[in-house]
Amino acid sequence: MDLLLQLLLEAILLGTFYAFLSLGFSLTWGVLNILNLAYGSLVVLGSYLAYSLFNAVGVDPIVSLPISFAVGFVLGLLLQVSFVNRVIKLEPFMVLILTFGLDILISHTLNYFFKADIRSIDVPYAEGSFIVGNLIVSEVKLLVFLLSLILTALLFLFLRFTWTGRAIRAVALDVEGARLVGISPERVFALTMGIGTGVAFLSGNLYGILQGFTPFDGGLLTVKAFLVSVLGGLGRVESALFGGLLLGTMEIFVSFYAGESWKLFASLVLMILVLIFRPRGLMGGKYYGEA
C-alpha cells in the first residue's frame, strides 16, 4: 500500500511537469495546425540556456525563468517570420519534415558546442528529500511540481481571461470568423508561436532543474509532449493536466513493474493506439477555442 502511494506521488509530481511541458506543443498544434517535431529540441535549448546562465553568470535557475521565456518568445517570433509563414500553405507533412530538419540542426549544434556529456543544474536549496508519513518526497521534484503548477495556472488565466488569450482561442476556432471581428490571424499566429516556444524554454529550464540532460533528449521530449496532447485532447489547459497525469502514471508504473527499458515502447504503443482509435484524445475538444 505504501509502495502504491509512493508511486502515485511520483506520478503526480512528474505528470504535472509533463502537462506544462506539453502546453507549448499543443498550443501551436491547436492554433497553427503544426506538429512541431523540433519542440523537444527547443526544450533542451532552454535547458542549456538556464545551465549557461547558472554556470557562467550565476543566475539562479528560478530567477532565470522569465529570461528563458523572453528568449524563447523572441526565438518563436523569428521562427514564425522566417519559416512557418512561408511553408504554412504547403502540405502539413512538409512542415513536419521541416521541423524535423530543425530538430536535427538544433541537437547537432548543441552537441557541437556542449558535447554529449550529461549536464545538470544543481540547486543548492533543494538537494535532499524529506519524509511525510511513510512517503519520501524529493525536494527537487516538489519544486519543479510547484513551479509547473503555477506556470500552468498562469497560462490558463492568460488564455481564459485576457483579450489576447481570447483572440488566440478565437483564431483556433475559426480563422475567417476571427478576421471578420477585427482580429489579425497573422499576428495571432506569430504570438502563438512566440508563446509556444517561450513555454518550451520554460519547460527546458524546469527540466534542467529536475534531471540531467544531453543534446539528444529532444526526440524523447517531443514524444512526451505529443502523447500528453493526444491523451488529453487538444482542447484545454485542463485536458493537458489530465494527459500529463496519465502519462506520468503510466511511465512510473511501467518503469517499476516492467523495467525502465520498456517505458518508451509503452508510450509509443499508446500513442499509436490513441491516434488510430481516438484521434481527438481521450477527453476534450479539438481546438483551444471550444469552451
Binding site: 502539413p92 512538409m94 512542415v95 530538419g101 536535427i104 552537441n111 557541437y112 527499458s261 509509443l268 499509436i272
Partner: protein
C-alpha cells in the same frame, strides 16, 4: 516513353559496367551502393507518397523488419542469403498489408507521425527482446563467393532497377490510376467504385516490400545490425529529402534526388563528421524552403 526515363535505362546500363572501369572500386562501390540503396528507398516511398498521397515518414520500420528477418533467418536457422532476403521482404510487405486498413484511416501528418511512432516502437521492441540480440545486435558472416567485390553493388543495382520498373508500371497502369484517384480525392475515388482500402493497402504493401528488401541487402552488406542503425529516423529523413528534392510523384525524380543527395554529401562533407548533422539539418530546412516542389516536380 519520356526521354528522361530512357536516359535512366542508359544510366543503369552504364552503372552495370562501372566495376570494370572505375579505379579505386572499393571506395566508389561503397558510395554508389549507398546511392542505389537510397534510390530504392525513395522509389519505394514514391509509390506510397507520390502516387497514393500517404507519407509514411516511418517507412524505415519496414527496412528494419526486412533486415532483421533476413539476419535472424540466416543466423539462427542457417537459411541461405537469397531465400532469407526474399522472406524478409515478404514479411515486411505482409506486415504493412495487415496494418494498413486501420493505419490508413489517418491522413497527411497524422499518418506520417503514426508510422514514425511505429518505427521507434519497433526499434524499442527489438532492443528489448532476446532472439533479436537486444541492444547488442546481430553479427553476420562476411560474404564469400562470386563477384566478391561487387556482389552487394549488383544487388542494390537490381533492387533500384526493380523499384524503378514498378514506379513506371504504377505511373501508367490502371492500378496506378486508382492510386492517383485516391491521392487527388479519396471520397470521389470511392464514389466511382475504387476499392480505396484495398488499393491503398496494396500500395503500402508494395512500398514496404521494396523497403524490406533494401533492409535485407543492407544487413548482409554491413554484416552488423543493431536497433539504432536499422530503425534510424535519420534514414527516414534522408529518404524523404531525396524524394522531395528530386520531385514527388515522378518516376525519375526519386532516383535523381537520391544520387544528388548521396553524391553531394560524399564529395562535400564526408570529411567533416563533426558538423555532418548540422549540415544535414540545414539542407533539409533550406531544401523545403527553396525547392518545396522538387527539381522535377510538377505539382
Amino acid at each position: 516513353m519520356a526521354r528522361l526515363e530512357k536516359a535512366v535505362f542508359i544510366f543503369f546500363g552504364v552503372l552495370a559496367f562501372l566495376p570494370l572501369l572505375l579505379p579505386e572500386w572499393p571506395y566508389w562501390g561503397r558510395v554508389l551502393s549507398s546511392a542505389l540503396m537510397l534510390s530504392s528507398l525513395a522509389l519505394a516511398q514514391n509509390v506510397l507518397l507520390g502516387y497514393t498521397g500517404y507519407p509514411a515518414f516511418g517507412g524505415i520500420a519496414f527496412f528494419g523488419i526486412g533486415g532483421y528477418t533476413t539476419a535472424i533467418l540466416m543466423k539462427s536457422l542457417s537459411i541461405p542469403f537469397l531465400p532469407s532476403l526474399l522472406i524478409g521482404g515478404l514479411v515486411a510487405g505482409l506486415t504493412a498489408l495487415i496494418i494498413a486498413p486501420p493505419l490508413m484511416r489517418l491522413r497527411s501528418h497524422y499518418f506520417a507521425i503514426t508510422t514514425l511512432a511505429l518505427q521507434l516502437a519497433l526499434g524499442e521492441v527489438v532492443a528489448n527482446l532476446e532472439f533479436t540480440g537486444g541492444t547488442d545486435g546481430i553479427n553476420l558472416p562476411i560474404y564469400r563467393g562470386p563477384f566478391e567485390g561487387s556482389f552487394f553493388y549488383f544487388l542494390f543495382l537490381l533492387l533500384a532497377l526493380i523499384s524503378f520498373l514498378i514506379n513506371l508500371w504504377v505511373d501508367r497502369s490502371v492500378f496506378g490510376y486508382a492510386l492517383k484517384a485516391i491521392r487527388e480525392d479519396e471520397v470521389a475515388a470511392e464514389s466511382v467504385g475504387v476499392n480505396t482500402v484495398l488499393f491503398k493497402s496494396l500500395s503500402f504493401g508494395i512500398s514496404s516490400f521494396l523497403t524490406g528488401l533494401a533492409g535485407g541487402v543492407y544487413a548482409y552488406w554491413i554484416t552488423y545490425i543493431d536497433p539504432t542503425s536499422m530503425f534510424d529516423p535519420l534514414l527516414s529523413v534522408k529518404t524523404f529529402v531525396a524524394l522531395l528534392l528530386g520531385g514527388v510523384g515522378t518516376t525519375v525524380g526519386p532516383l535523381l534526388g537520391a544520387f544528388l543527395l548521396e553524391m553531394v554529401s560524399e564529395i562535400v562533407w564526408s570529411g567533416l563528421t563533426e558538423v555532418h548533422g548540422i549540415i544535414l539539418g540545414l539542407l533539409i530546412v533550406l531544401g523545403i524552403l527553396l525547392v518545396p516542389r522538387g527539381i522535377l516536380g510538377v505539382r
